[in-house]
Amino acid sequence: MNKSLVIISKEDNVATAIRDIARGEELVIRDFGKNLYVKEDIPFGHKISLEDIPQGGQVMKYGETIGRATLNIPRGSHVHVHNIESLRGRGDLEGKNI
């Protein structure tokens, strides 16, 4: 496995950090074609965006959707509960257009 990140599927637009990664690092990712400039600290186990993800866009991990972006997420950002949301089990949105 890559020493910094795990990318599970080629359709994924996020990767998982397998060490604490600091803002300002530039990561070389095998078979990815270009380097990834890290915009924010990414703690062990947390996700980083591999591409720009527009607000409302699908966040992909395991080759499947894990939710939707609630903000524009630039490439190299920390992707977590502050900028993505679940689309399932949302009783709070019942009756509203989602």
């Binding site: 496995m1 020493k3 795990v6 599970i8 998982t16 950090a17 397998i18 703690p43 062990f44 186990g45 947390h46 996700k47 966040v59 991990k61 395991y62 499947e64 959707t65 894990i66 939710g67 992707v79 977590h80 509960v81 993505i84 949301e85 679940s86 689309l87 399932r88 089990g89 949302r90 009783g91 709070d92 949105l93 019942e94």
Partner: protein, 385 residues
């Protein structure tokens, strides 16, 4: 691979030989635990239910308690009732005795109160304890094992490392014609389509989708965002952002074998292979359901670390997070953190879990057993009345 276990009269096998003391209701739980605490090899279930429950919940409680009594890991059973509860001790004892095991019961109100019931119970338990001590381990086959698959206190390493390694073990057991039970319906939300594709029939696939739909609908009917409870704060601190992400990691513990069937909470699998049991994502209730369904052994992956055990079945704890293993080695049996560190493959760790499982089947205690972790909780649909 030579394995030895306890052959029960109904054809099931046990890898432990406990005297199980079951309180029919919460009102009998103190007397049951006091009796078990004074008798060699006895364990009591800390039952919180059994009275003033609606019929569907009472049925779940009965099925769960009865399933524990019938589980191959119980050598003999003593049921304690108060006497006026909805779930009658005599009915429970009769149902469990269909296995051919020694099963006795007593009722506190008819015995004269706490002290009289304890004395009577201790005399019965002493006799049962001596009785089961004569049982010897005999040759068993791995195909007779029912393995429960659990994950809890997950983080992102669970989906990347520990769950795939557990899935490897499940696949290996199923390929040896054994049985494994996947659980936690909540943690299929967002990943159910992947598991449904593996169903042996359209009917099984539809059944699977139906239990997930009902689980999600329940959250919607309550008008709540599931994110208030799933993922948990610990899951989120560990990097999991949504229930979909958690679920996509969770299903890896079910390996890649075809899905043979879908079970109700506490229901025993009919036939061999991989089954899905409809349990909640709450670990203790999920494990309790699988053991009630006959699981003699639980594999439990945990990214954040948890001490959980079970009164009747050994629980093998596995973490995919190397930091958690360092921090909580006293509770964790297997370090699968080597996968994210790049020093071992998923298959390597799967083989280590398999070897550990074989030793535990033979009788070696897990850390949760050695520390007497005996968590127990029965799922319920609604409040008591």
């Amino acid at each position: 691979m030579k394995l030895h276990g306890y052959l029960r009269n109904n054809g099931s096998i046990g890898i432990r030989n406990h005297l199980l003391v079951i309180p029919a209701s919460v009102c009998a739980a103190t007397v049951a635990s006091r009796i078990a605490s004074q008798v060699q090899g006895a364990v009591a279930l800390p039952n919180q239910h059994g009275c003033a429950q609606i019929k569907p919940d009472l049925d779940i409680t009965f099925r769960t308690l009865s399933g524990f009594g019938k589980n191959g890991n119980a050598g003999a059973v003593l049921v304690i009732g108060l006497g006026c509860e909805s779930l009658e001790a005599e009915d429970l004892a009769r149902d469990i005795s269909s296995t051919g095991k020694e099963v006795e019961y007593l009722v506190i109100q008819r015995s004269g109160g706490t002290l009289s019931a304890q004395e009577k119970g201790l005399r019965i338990a002493r006799k049962l304890s001596q009785h089961i001590s004569q049982f010897k381990r005999e040759p068993i086959h791995i195909s007779q094992m029912i393995l429960g698959l659990e994950c809890g206190g997950s983080d992102t390493t669970s989906g990347l490392a520990a769950n795939p390694a557990q899935g490897y073990v499940s696949d290996k057991l199923v390929s040896h014609h054994g049985t494994s039970i996947l659980s936690e319906t909540t943690e299929l939300i967002g990943a159910e389509h992947l598991l449904a594709r593996r169903a042996v029939s359209a009917e099984v696939g539809e059944h699977l989708l139906d239990i997930v739909r009902k689980c999600e609908d329940k959250a919607k009917r309550l008008g709540v965002d599931l994110r208030g409870s799933q993922p948990t704060p610990g899951n989120i601190a560990g990097g999991l952002s949504t229930i979909e992400e958690k679920s996509l990691g969770c299903i890896h513990k079910g390996g890649s074998m075809p899905l043979s069937g879908v079970l109700e909470y506490g229901e025993s699998p009919k036939g061999k292979g991989l089954f899905m049991m409809d349990t909640p994502g709450q670990d203790i209730e999920s494990i309790t359901g699988m053991v009630a369904g006959g699981a003699q052994l639980i594999l439990f992956t945990t990214g954040r670390g948890t001490p959980t055990g079970c009164p009747l079945a050994p629980v093998i704890k596995i973490t995919g997070n190397p930091g958690t293993y360092t921090l909580m080695e006293e509770n964790i049996d297997i370090n699968a953190g080597t996968i994210v560190q790049g020093t071992e493959s998923i298959e390597d760790v799967g083989e280590r879990i398999w070897d550990e499982m074989i030793e535990v089947i033979k009788g070696r205690l897990t850390k949760a057993e050695a520390l007497c972790h005996r968590e127990f909780g029965i799922y319920k649909l609604t409040s008591t009345f």
